[in-house]
Amino acid sequence: MKYIDEFQDPALARRLLDDIAGTVTRPWSMMEVCGGQTHSIIRHGIDQLLPEQIELIHGPGCPVCVTPLEVIDKALEIASRPGVVFCSFGDMLRVPGSDRDLFRVRGDGGDVRVVYSPLDALRIAQQTPDQQVVFFGVGFETTAPAIAMAAHQAKRLDVRNFSLLVSHVRVPPAIEAIMRSPDCRVQAFLAAGHVCSVMGTLEYPALADTHKVPIVVTGFEPLDILEGIRRAVRQLERGEHRVENAYPRAVRPQGNQVALSVLREVFTTTDRAWRGIGTIPDSGWRLTDTYRDYDAEHRFEVTGLTTEEPTVCRSGEVLQGLIRPHECAAFGTACTPRTPLGATMVSSEGACAAYYLYRRLATPRMEETTSID
């Protein structure tokens, strides 16, 4: 198949793996930032093919994982109201809030719909003028332009029954926060290629310089990931710390100017809470005051809602590579993929969920309790 098979070629993968194995002389730990990369690593078994000296730390780049409990609870509250059509990307429906998820809201009679684009939600608003249509705008810089465009179009077309519950997060401040942690174990970053295809790479040299850390912009197919790892290992072995673009077919240093201009028009940076990690300064986007009328938090008056994460959950430390999943007391007992307490167990590609699955392979009789009482 054109442009998929080519980037999954086993012979080329073997050459890259051999190159990595021939280069590495000591243990290194590197973080793939993006959940899509984590998914690809697990999906293709890449982590098991690497030399033992290389540890991949699954980063906080899964939007499902890091959307804070407070925002999930706001989504559930809005989606439960009569007269609301709540539209979301598919995988947010299963993320547990304090006491339920969007599937449960739908089961209770709420009108919750999976859409593939925020512009689909805008279309629903135009077709059902007597309903309030809300789109759940989550994700990193990758999903943000389409969501900004939906807001822009809603304003331009004066669609007044459409609003957005926004919880966007940005990658560079997260890298900054991880590197500032006194116990940080991350020695190199594979930056998220799709994020950089929008934003460019100009935000990263300062991070690489300040923290003396290699940052390699990396794609998502197996060969892309192996090439990113190969370049990161080379830099580490040579004591270098540069920004490299290993995904040039999609990423230009200046980014996507059209996308950036709509982002600047619709969003402004804000402090944002990350599930499991806490608040990171300037790490999120919110709608600008010009778009306040399209902000679902204000329209539905849920701004005062606050929640608390389960204290036993240490997913924030897992996300930053400070501990491994099984070092958390709740792992595999109170916290399983069926009963997730935290970010990294929520998503199938979260570090804890992946670790849980593979530990079952080593210990096949680890059963979950699924009693009805």
């Binding site: 073997r14 998820d101 209770d108 999976v114 593939y116 009805i372 009482d373």
Partner: protein, 339 residues
């Protein structure tokens, strides 16, 4: 989430994954389950007056009613016929119950009925009893259909998931994922370059062709809801064996692979309506495979893996790069990923 966390029915309870299994095990089985139902096979094997019968029922609630490659009428026949065939039975008779929504065009009901009749003739079964109910407007999707079926199980045939044995070859009858992607494309208005057509088809003839080679087929399953992943996980759990797949050997059409890549879905979890997976002892695998490939429903059949003693209850796939991944039982329905 465990059942206790779901005081109401959620869509995942009908997704063919872990939530469906939980609902059955913890709610239905304690209420009315017996030894036969507890086997949780797609069709029950019962003995009546000396005859061994396969007996199965299934309800069809597909939206839209008509889709590329088929419609709810085809599914209502083929789905039940295939459930019977997966126990090695020769399907004979069906019941057919229609639940119609007030306001549905009679011409639509007529088209479904015509298609259902044609599918029954093609599958060589007769519809011998039926029922019709009408629900208020807004309480249904136009047309729901339930069919139940019976068929005779030939002497010497014992096909059930508990019979999988280490050393069995795992064979799939053709490319996977077409039905699920065909439905998704029309339901969501998505196009993937090439039109993906449902694989809905009756498989009883293919099964009989396989049994003509040897009665020693251990397991047959049609991987419908939850796809190949759910079917293999259920077999591994029922037989307390493991399954190792060669991912590169699993046939996935280009258009299905593209659609899945675009939406962040895994073809292993996408529904099929005209495919079967078979566990066959290694000594019979080549002969069974030849028989399958000689049949119109099995032309693209191939070995995709093996049953092993290691990691009982788990399905592991060897990836194209030589790594491994666990193909877990899906929780509910697969959801498109954000990025």
């Amino acid at each position: 989430m465990p059942l206790r966390d779901h005081p109401v029915v959620v869509m995942g309870h009908g997704g063919g994954g872990a939530l469906s299994a939980e609902l059955t095990r913890h709610l239905f089985l304690p209420a009315y389950g017996g030894e036969t139902l507890a086997g949780l096979t797609d069709s029950a094997t019962v003995t009546l007056g000396g005859a061994r019968l396969a007996f199965s029922t299934d309800s069809y609630v597909v939206r839209p009613l008509f889709f590329p490659g088929g419609n709810i009428g085809d599914l209502a026949v083929n789905g039940t016929v295939n459930d019977l065939a997966m126990s090695g039975a020769v399907p004979a008779h069906l019941s057919c119950a229609f639940i119609l929504e007030e306001g549905t065009e009679l011409s639509t009901v007529g088209r479904v009925a015509q298609a259902l009749g044609a599918a029954a003739r093609a599958a060589d079964v007769t519809v011998v009893t039926g029922d019709t109910k009408v629900v208020d407007s807004g309480h249904g999707d136009g047309v729901y259909v339930n069919t139940a079926g019976i068929g005779l199980i030939p002497e010497g045939v014992d096909i059930r998931p508990q019979r999988a044995r280490p050393g069995d070859m795992v064979i799939v009858s053709g490319p996977i994922g077409q039905h699920g992607i065909a439905i998704l494309s029309v339901r969501e208005g998505l196009t993937f370059g090439t039109e993906v057509v449902s694989d809905t088809a009756p498989l009883a003839g293919l099964v009989q062709a396989m049994l003509a080679v040897t009665p020693e087929i251990h397991v047959l399953r049609d991987p419908t809801r939850g796809g190949l992943a759910a079917a293999l996980n259920e077999i591994a759990a029922a037989s307390d064996t493991g399954v190792v797949l060669e991912e590169g050997a699993v046939p996935v059409p280009d258009a299905v692979a593209s659609a899945c890549a675009l939406l962040g879905l895994d073809p292993m979890y996408v529904a099929n309506e005209g495919r079967l997976v078979a566990f066959v002892p290694r000594t019979h695998a080549d002969a069974v495979l030849d028989a399958m490939r000689a049949h119109p429903m099995g032309r693209e059949a191939g070995v995709i893996g093996a049953c092993v003693a290691e990691h009982p209850g788990m399905v592991v796939a060897r990836t194209g790069l030589g790594g491994t991944r666990i193909v877990d039982l899906p929780l509910g329905e697969q959801l498109p990923r954000i990025c």
